[in-house]
Symmetry: C2
Subunit: 200 residues, 2 copies
DNA sequence: GTCTATAACTGGATAGAC
DNA sequence: GTCTATCCAGTTATAGAC
């Protein structure tokens, strides 16, 4: 028998439901990326997902949960852990190149990151935590490079970590507003080439 | 008679009116900085200015004009033209230090900059124009430095210009979210020290 | 010029039929 | 699970008294 201890077989439309939630999360990512959290409506998400507003709110209890679903989806696609040592710079640049082909993800990130600096924004703690984590990761990596003599003399590893993160976020915004005038991957590579010494 | 050709003397509360507009612009700057454009309401601006919502809309015809007034006010306070040559780096760092004491201005900038990447945002053209102008200005300055041999070999002046702008915007966001962990002026100085060679 | 009152509209969320 | 219908709160903007 497929019954479990509770005496009730869990069957039915669960697979479909999971697919539905995926579909909605993807729509939320698009909508909040294009219009921001406050600018996008649950109805917009419903339209993008091809269903009614009430169906959306059946799968996610409220608008905030939609936002969280969109951010989780972005993380799953975007945030690979960069390599270490030799591969660090290469990983960063590759990630940036990948992002150029996934404008939706960048839009979501840039729109929400700025919006989240305002009071009582549901994504504020997400970005606070993200920045703190990445500053730590990048800082540690530059510290390692310093220890093997690959960091340019005079460069503070943790300042470089925060700078790389800031540069990345800042250049993304410029790229969104003027994609033809800005080379994201090239700008990041230029900074890394400046800070990391070539193999001796 | 004091009547002029039109038969009506232009007198009365013009001075008071101008002061009122200033007062409202300042309130708009605070409100949109703290809550974003879409997150802030005309009523919020009215409350901050200590008057009714209709009074605010008497002086500015609609919400968009309030936003423009706030941005103009920010420009007037913040955007000094940086010096050239020797003084360029110094001006940038001084400006950043000044900004640390004017959090309201940074909040407005960061919140609206991210928000403006979304479609149909009233501040979008403002930021597009601003970025293009500053990339040009910074790029030209680094080009000049290159011409007098003060730019680090291998550094592209225009990439450096866009990078400085991106770094500045990015570090401001980090500073807003974690003011204790981030040193805006120090981070900018570190980048400039990296790119600009000391006087030989 | 400033106010009170309100019109006109939009948003998130819920109830209940199917 | 999904829909139609609806509720209610909040928003911009206008009308008209003083």
């Amino acid at each position: 028998m497929t019954s479990n201890e509770s005496g009730r077989r869990r069957r039915g439309p669960y697979a479909k439901s999971a697919a539905r939630r995926e579909q909605i999360a993807q729509a939320a990512l698009q909508v909040f990326g294009a219009r921001g959290y406050r600018g996008g409506t649950v109805q917009d998400v419903a339209d993008a997902a091809g269903m009614s507003q009430t169906s959306v709110l059946h799968h996610y209890p409220n608008k905030q949960e939609l936002l969280i679903a969109a951010l989780k989806r972005r993380d799953a696609v975007t945030d690979g852990t960069p390599g270490t040592g030799e591969r660090f710079a290469q990983s960063i640049v590759e990630q940036a190149q990948f992002n150029e082909g996934a404008a939706e993800l960048i839009e979501l990130y840039a729109a929400l990151c700025g919006e989240s600096t305002t009071s009582d924004h549901p994504a504020r703690s997400y970005f606070e935590a993200r920045f703190e984590r990445l500053r730590g990761e990048y800082g540690a990596e530059f510290e390692f490079m310093k220890s093997i003599g690959r960091l340019r003399p005079g460069v503070d590893p943790h300042v470089a970590g925060a700078s790389l993160l800031a540069l990345w976020d800042g250049i993304q915004v410029q790229w969104l507003l003027s994609p033809d005038d800005v080379d994201m991957a090239g700008t990041l590579k230029a900074y890394l080439d400046l800070v990391i010494l070539p193999e001796s």
